[in-house]
Structures are given as structure tokens and as C-alpha cells.
Amino acid sequence: MTQARMLALLKRPLSIAILAILVLLAGGELLSPGFASPRQIVTLLTIAALLGVVAAGQNLVILGGREGIDLSVGGIISFAAFLAGNVMQQQDAYLLQAVGTVLLATFCIGLVTGLGVTWLRIPPLVMTLGMLGVVQGGLVLLTRGVPSGRAAPMLSRIVSEPLLLGLPGILFIWILIGVVLTLVLRRTTFGLNVYAIGTNEAAAALAGVPVRLTRTLLFALSGLFAGLTGILLLGYTEYVFIGAGDQYMLPSIIAVVIGGTSLAGGSGGYIGTMAGAIVLILLQSILTTLNIPPFGRQIVFGVTLLGLMLLYGRQRRLRG
């Protein structure tokens, strides 16, 4: 391999993210022995999986371009966790029913968002912001301000307890999502259409790509993935909390960006986003391990993000 190609490979966002994971793991182990122990890693991956699943939807919306972004995912996650908890009522028998209901409901919420973006042509930032308010308001109506509902035991087991090879089920779900989503993006007409509309919407439309349908679906899928995250989060926490999903809204965007998906749309993929989610969780975890007070964690976190922007978040020059 020539030096130039090595350098090019090193500059690829995915390589940077993977390198960051290794450095963070090594650094964590050095600072706090046991940080990189298998058990600890599994715990971290479980937390990363929750972020990774919601970031899947965010990833799709961002890939579709035209300033695609979904600020409503946090509200949808909270809503989904509440709905799931109340449908399953701690009973395994209602688990499937709960999952089906939640996924259908959150897909529909995303669908409405998508229709607003495509048919009314409301900028995604505005539309999803508005939708966030509606979902949060709806949640208050349903909960009457008092959260209720608990996870079915099976759900908690799937999420938290070892299923196979000492790994919890949620990791297999995440890997499955990773494989399926990557195949969908690379090997299906829908996937190619997503990249096409994200790169050059006008050209895509002239090439026969169903632009509006594709973009609407992206938002619907983002709702669906947020819904799935809500279910998994319920399994992880077992109880329903108000605003449980809020913490995911902006990190889901950051995970996508760290993973090398361009906010301009049309380039990137889900493998990078998975790595991005792990980087974020590792970083947070190290800062916690180091006993850095919350403010210090926040500052280091923010500065790291800015550093990553310097690596690959820059926009083109105005001068040719």
C-alpha cells in the first residue's frame, strides 16, 4: 500500500472513529484499570446500542440531504417507552403486542413529519421541532404528568442479561440493524435513491427517483427507530421516566457526524454511525471514570466535538 493511500485511509472518518475507540479504550484502561475489561465493555456497548439505534434513524434522515435532521427523536423515545410500558404491563404475553403498537405509532408520527417536510416543504429543523412539542404535549396528556408502566420481564432480560456468548440480546439486535441497514443502503434501490436525493435532488428527480416518497419514508423510519429505542430503553431502565428520551436528541446527531456522514447529505453510512455512537459513549464513560465533575465532562465533551469538526466538518471555500 502506498503512503498516499495509507494517508487517505487514515483520513476516512470511519478509520478516525475506530482509531478513537481504540485510543479511548487504551486511555481508559491506563487511567482506570478495569475500564477495558470485557464486562465493562459489554456494559458500554449496551449503552451505545441504545444511542446507536436512534442514531440509525437520524442517520437516514441526514443522508437524505436538504438539511435533513430530526429533532423529534427525543420526544418519540419518551413517548414510545411510556406506550410500551403501559401496553405490556409487566407481562411477557403482551410484549409482542406492545412492540407492534409502539412501532406502528412511532412510524406514523415520523410519517406525519415526513409529509410536512415533503408536501408542505417545511424545513426539517422547523418541522421536527414543532413535532417535538406536539409529542411532548401528547405525552403529558397520556401520563397526566405521572409516569406509569413497567417493562415486561422478558424485555428486561433481552436488553440487560447475557443471551449468547455472554452478550445481551440488545447487542444482537443492534448488530442485526447494522447489517440490515447497511445492506439496505448499499444493495437496494431504496438505498441508492437515498444517496441520490441526498447528493443532488434535482438530478435524482430527473433520473426518475421518487424524491418525495423516499424522503417521507426516511422520516417515518427515523420515527420507527426512535420508537424501537424507546422500547429498548424501557427494557434497560425497567421503569418509565418522563423525558427519558431527551438525552438522545442531540447526541444522535453527533454520533452520525462523528461516524463520517456528511450533514450536507449523500455520503456516509451506518457502520460509521455505530462507531460514532461507541466513541461518544466511551468518551462520556472515561470522563465519568476520571471523576471529572459534570461541568468538566461537558467541557471536554464539547471541545472534543469541536476538534472532530476540525477534522472533517469543514465546509467548502467560497473562492475557487
Partner: protein, 501 residues
């Protein structure tokens, strides 16, 4: 001593050489025409002089002193004003705001003097009052103006800075004859005041009418520079074309069939006012005329990319309602735009994806069968002599000509029976053009009906079986057989506006 002198200017964009050591010199009080075919580098040269593009090599001297502008602000401060072909107007802002952007009149307090801004704009508009049409006033938004009106506003904007060097890059492209006269009147006054003007145009008659000197560029080099009195139309054309002969009267292998492939009746849309014609299988039907007279609008309307107001379309005897590209392509109709960057390629995506995207949409399959798709597109890749390192390389790495081949191959893979070509050879090299021509010829012999709009008149006349001449959204003439020559084309194209003196 020339007021401005550029020598040995080089510039590459990605892998494409735009300027390969161009030279240019400009005298005060003179109009210097800069011409050449699309992509010859004249616009790039102007942007370098104006400071909005950085040169890779070469020197620019202003009044004999070497200068190097790091941004347009510096060039403007040195007295250089530029009319940008793509216009540098902010569409949501008003006419007055645009004309005086960055040099708005201020009161003693330093705040904007809105009344002065308005009255100054009013005065500036006065110069073009008789030709600019209705709806133009200082408070009108540029977004509400037509293309020719916007162009005149851009000219006023350039002049508002009182530049001593003025670059007009296709400043007359969308103007009618009266408007051109008004602009020329202004240019002569500026010349008398000692301004130096670089005048870029595609209209040869304008060169002989206004220019004192002419420079021709080809493939990023200066190939001819003469006082206008010492050169001729033929010499300039020869310099533009170079050694390669224009594709005049290409040998046609195909013979158009008798069956009608496409029948259009009284088609109206934005920029189209009742267009009717028939096109046969195996025919190349050319759409000619001055720039933007409805040729492109017709093709886009047929493809469903421009909403129709009225009219009917029949393809192979069956009615077509062009609701959008997806409904139209299902009737085996394909559209290729010459505006590759905006309407053709997905530049940052792999060549493979760009090649198969339309076929996938046409087939409505879920899974991308890579091998089968490669097999199906390969004949067209070979037919068009598409050169690439790997199908997974991005389209952005290809030259403009190869990018155009990708877009064409994308559509050929869907086996169209009607092919709409919207200025497909804009800014691509001779060899690529040759490949496109021979492919078109072959397609015709297979019975494909081709509608070709070209801004290159020689090409249009050379390869079309018939040419429909457009003027103001209507077909004003049909040229067949021996009528297919420049003379007839120009007479029809300029029919409503009297030819230049």
C-alpha cells in the same frame, strides 16, 4: 501601456485544466471581445482577474504593476467591476438594494439613507427605462424580475461601482435587440470616459459591432488576438474551432423512418406558447434559435419537469400526460441535460450508482443486482467509450465529457424510444462529442427518435435531419434539406428583432 495584462495564467479544477497558460492584455478606452466555445476558459480567466478564483500560476499586471487579489473586495477596490454570467444578485432583495450592495448611500450619522438609495436607483434605472419593460422599480424584488430584467440590473450594479475596468461575461445573453442597443450605447459612453471593457459574448455580430479588439481562446489558451479591423468572421471561427473541422454535414448512416414517434400539439407552458410538431422514428430533430427561446423548456415540459398549461402529447400514437419524470420514463422517454452538475450527475456518488439509478427506477425492483446491472450497462459504457478507473470511483473524478457519457449511458440502459437531449455537448471536448454523435447515429438506425437542443449552431445544423427554430416560445421556422445552414437559422432566429447593423 496596457491597463491590464495577464500572462501565463494556469488553473486546474480537480483533474480538469481550465486555463493552460492564457495571455490577455487590455487597453484603456477600448472594448476587447473575448470569445471561444464553452469551456475554453474565458469565464475562469475573468474570475481570476476579478479575484473570485485563485490562479495556480501566472501574473496579472495592473497599470504595469503586478497584482494578486486574494478576494473580490480587493479587485473591486482596484477598480475592477464584473458582470457575472450566473449573476451576483440576491434574489429576495430589492433592485435598489442589489445595485448598491456594499456601497449604499449613508447619512451623516452613518446610517443608510433610504431616500437617496431609492432616488439613485431610480436614476440608474433611467438609463434603461425605455427597454427594461414593466414592473422594474427600485423597490421591486429581483426574484420577481424576468431573466433579461435581472441581467440589466446586474449591469447597473456593476456600473454603480464606477469601475475603470469592466468585465461583461455574457452580459447580453438574455437581452433582446433593443436592450442590447441600450447596453451598447452605455458601453460606448464608458469607453469615451476611458474605461476598459472585456466583452464576452456568443453572438459574433455583437463582436464586430462593439469591439475594438478580439481575443479568441481555445482549450485554456489564447489562440488569436487582433484589432477587429484586421480580422474576419471566418478567421475568428477558424480560431475557435481549431484544426478540427466543425461537424458540418456529417455522413448519416441512418434514414428516418416514416412512422411518427412523437406528436405534440399546441403545447404551452412557462416560456412555451403553443408549440406543435411531429417527430419520426430514427430522426434527429434539432431545436435551434437564440439561447433560451423555449428549446430547453420544451424538452423539460415533455419530460414532466416543467408543468404544462395546455396542449397534448402523443407517443407512438398514445396520449402522454407528463405528470413527472417517473410517469414519462415509463413510456420509454429519456432526458439528458447538458447542465451536468445541477441536473445530471450525483457527483460524490460512485459511477456505478450513477449508471444504474434510472434503470432501477424503471424496473421497480427492490434489490440491486450488481452483476446483472453491470452486464446490462456494459454495452453502453463500451459504445460511448466511457473511460474510468473503477465503477466504484466517484463521478466527480471524471472529466466533464465522461460525466456526460455517464448520464447518457444511464438512460440508454433503459432502452428509450424517444431521447430528449438538452444541450448535451455543452462544455465537453471534441472527441467526446464525436463519440456522442456516432452513438446518436446508431440509436437512430435502431429507430430511436431524438430531440436535440444545442447551443452550438454548427453541431445542430450538422447532425439534425430537420431543425425547428424557436423564437419567444414559438416555432418560427422549420429547416430541412439544404435550408439547414447558418444563414437560414439566423434569419429565423432574429426574425422579430432586426439584424444587427
Amino acid at each position: 501601456m496596457p491597463i491590464l495584462e495577464a500572462s501565463g495564467i494556469r488553473k486546474q479544477f480537480g483533474g480538469v485544466v481550465a486555463l493552460a497558460g492564457a495571455d490577455f492584455s487590455l487597453d484603456a478606452g477600448a472594448v476587447h471581445a473575448l470569445i471561444g466555445s464553452n469551456g475554453c476558459g474565458k469565464s475562469t480567466l475573468c474570475k481570476i482577474i476579478a479575484g473570485s478564483v485563485a490562479a495556480d500560476a501566472g501574473t496579472i499586471r495592473l497599470d504595469g504593476n503586478p497584482v494578486s487579489f486574494s478576494d473580490p473586495q480587493e479587485a473591486a477596490a482596484a477598480g475592477i467591476g464584473v458582470f457575472y454570467q450566473e449573476l451576483s444578485l440576491v434574489r429576495p432583495m430589492t433592485v435598489a438594494e442589489n445595485i448598491y450592495l456594499g456601497r449604499e448611500p449613508r447619512m451623516r450619522t452613518g446610517l443608510l439613507d433610504r431616500d437617496a438609495l431609492r432616488s439613485q436607483a431610480e436614476n440608474a434605472l433611467e438609463q434603461f427605462r425605455s427597454v427594461i419593460g414593466t414592473g422594474v422599480h427600485p423597490d421591486a424584488r429581483v426574484a420577481d424580475l424576468s431573466a433579461d430584467q435581472s441581467q440589466l440590473i446586474e449591469i447597473l450594479k456593476v456600473l454603480a461601482a464606477n469601475p475603470r475596468i469592466i468585465i461583461l461575461d455574457e452580459a447580453t445573453a438574455a437581452l433582446d435587440r433593443n436592450q442590447v442597443d441600450a447596453v451598447f450605447h452605455r458601453i460606448r459612453a464608458l469607453k469615451a470616459d476611458g474605461c476598459a471593457i472585456i466583452f464576452i459574448t456568443h453572438r459574433m455580430d455583437e463582436v464586430f459591432e462593439i469591439a475594438d479588439r478580439v481575443t479568441v481562446m481555445r482549450n485554456g489558451l489564447t489562440v488569436l488576438s487582433q484589432p477587429i479591423g484586421q480580422t474576419s468572421h471566418d478567421e475568428i471561427v477558424a480560431a475557435m474551432v481549431g484544426d478540427v473541422m466543425p461537424p458540418a454535414r456529417r455522413e448519416r448512416k441512418h434514414v428516418p423512418a416514416q412512422e411518427t414517434a412523437l406528436e405534440v400539439e399546441q403545447l404551452s407552458a412557462a416560456k412555451l406558447a403553443g408549440v406543435s410538431f411531429k417527430a419520426r422514428r430514427g430522426e434527429i430533430l434539432g431545436l435551434g434559435g437564440l439561447h433560451g427561446q423555449g428549446q430547453s423548456a420544451l424538452l423539460r415540459a415533455l419530460f414532466g419537469a416543467l408543468p404544462l398549461k395546455a396542449g397534448s402529447i402523443q407517443v407512438d400514437g398514445k396520449r402522454l400526460a407528463p405528470k413527472g419524470p417517473r410517469t414519462v420514463m415509463r413510456r420509454s422517454i429519456a432526458y439528458v441535460s447538458g447542465d451536468r452538475a445541477r441536473h445530471g450527475v450525483m457527483a460524490i456518488r460512485p459511477i456505478f450508482e450513477n449508471l444504474v439509478i434510472s434503470l432501477l427506477s424503471r424496473e421497480r425492483r427492490v434489490v440491486v443486482q450488481t452483476e446483472r446491472l453491470e452486464r446490462e450497462t456494459r454495452p453502453f459504457i463500451e459504445r460511448l467509450k466511457l473511460k474510468f478507473s473503477s465503477l466504484q470511483a466517484t463521478v466527480a473524478e471524471l472529466s466533464g465529457g465522461n460525466q456526460q457519457k455517464v448520464v447518457l449511458a444511464r438512460w440508454l440502459a433503459t432502452h428509450p424510444s424517444v431521447l430528449l437531449l438538452d444541450d448535451p455537448t455543452k462544455g465537453i471536448d471534441i472527441q467526446t462529442k464525436e463519440d456522442l454523435y456516432s452513438t446518436m447515429d446508431e440509436l437512430c438506425s435502431q429507430g430511436v427518435c431524438i430531440l436535440l437542443h444545442s447551443s452550438d449552431d454548427e453541431e445542430l445544423l450538422g447532425i439534425s435531419d430537420r431543425v425547428l427554430v424557436f423564437n419567444g416560445g414559438r416555432i418560427v421556422a422549420e429547416l430541412t434539406g439544404e435550408q439547414r445552414n447558418r444563414q437560414a437559422l439566423y434569419e429565423a432566429a432574429y426574425a422579430t428583432a432586426p439584424a444587427a447593423a
